[in-house]
Amino acid sequence: MTSQREIWAKRVRDIMDGRPVRWAEARNLIGDFDGRERTLEVFNADAKDQRQLLRRLRPVREDLERAAGGPTIIIFHTSAESSRLYGQFVQAALRDEAADDIAVSEYVLPDDVQPLGVDVTLRERDGANPGTGSTELPRVAA
């Protein structure tokens, strides 16, 4: 069963435009401070975006803190630091999100859907030989 904390991590991820988010693990935090166990890490959040991202949390902050059991601390990691220090986690989180997005889109197309175009067969470049691959789009007007 998914815990409230996991649900909130995903909700905050969506509020942060799909940036990877996780509850900080105590072993990754230095120093003792109030809210240590209620710290959310947000990755790929560059300095120029952080203020705006924090503002987006305001409408849900009360609910978030109720679910977390008290005031919540948000730690932003820039894109560069996210790659340098947490690359494995960030890549895995983005891959998981992609897999989730694909899973929720498994549906049956109606037979009478109006097509936007028709696909065409293309030729992939032959190894490292430039000029051997197709240079057209994979669709043409219907």
């Binding site: 969506d14 435009d17 799909g18 940036r19 790929n44 894109s79 996210s82 790659s83 690359g87 960030v90 890549q91 983005l94 891959r95 999100e97 992609a98 897999a99 989730d100 997005d101 694909i102 929720v104 889109s105 549906y107 049956v108 197309l109 109606p110 037979d111 859907v113 109006q114 097509p115 936007l116 175009g117 028709v118 696909d119 065409v120 067969t121 293309l122 030729r123 992939e124 470049r125 430039p130 000029g131 691959g133 197709s134 240079t135 057209e136 789009l137 994979p138 669709r139 219907a142």
Partner: protein, 142 residues
């Protein structure tokens, strides 16, 4: 580089799938995608394809095109793909286009039985998983 995902349906068997294509433009860098590298003008050369449903006459019911410099950092590209469903504003016309320097994005979608953002997220997810190697490659050369 142009990355394209398109959901296609066979008009005969009604089988459906999402095919992904990767094109390259060459070692160019830019702040904003030059008009000469937009898909309708110059998609680049096809270097890889991930085929669910063999192309050639299938109906295209949705597509996502993403243009980026060939040598963009993988994590930057994957973060953009994860963010699209949250950030791309739905426009009344189809397709929707947007510049997110150094990216350019185009999303087109026929009326489908899923929300617009769900389909956008699914196509972005297919591109992300293809590039990360999580999706098997079935080259279909013409």
């Amino acid at each position: 580089m142009l990355l394209t995902a398109q959901r296609v349906m066979s008009p005969v068997s009604h089988r459906q799938g999402v095919n992904v294509y990767q094109y390259q433009h060459g070692p160019y860098a830019w702040e904003r995608v030059p008009a000469e590298f937009l898909p309708e003008t110059n998609p680049g050369e096809l270097v890889a394809q991930w085929i669910d449903l063999p192309p050639g006459g299938n109906s295209v019911v949705s597509f996502l095109d993403v243009v980026a410099p060939d040598h963009i950092e993988g994590v930057e590209l994957h973060q953009l793909l994860a963010s699209l469903k949250h950030r791309l504003p739905q426009s009344t016309g189809s397709p929707t286009t947007a510049y997110w320097d150094p990216f350019w994005v185009q999303f087109g979608c026929a009326p489908l039985p899923v929300p617009w953002a769900t389909e956008l997220g699914a196509l972005a997810g297919h591109i992300a998983l293809s590039l990360s190697g999580a999706r098997p490659r079935h080259a279909h050369s013409g």
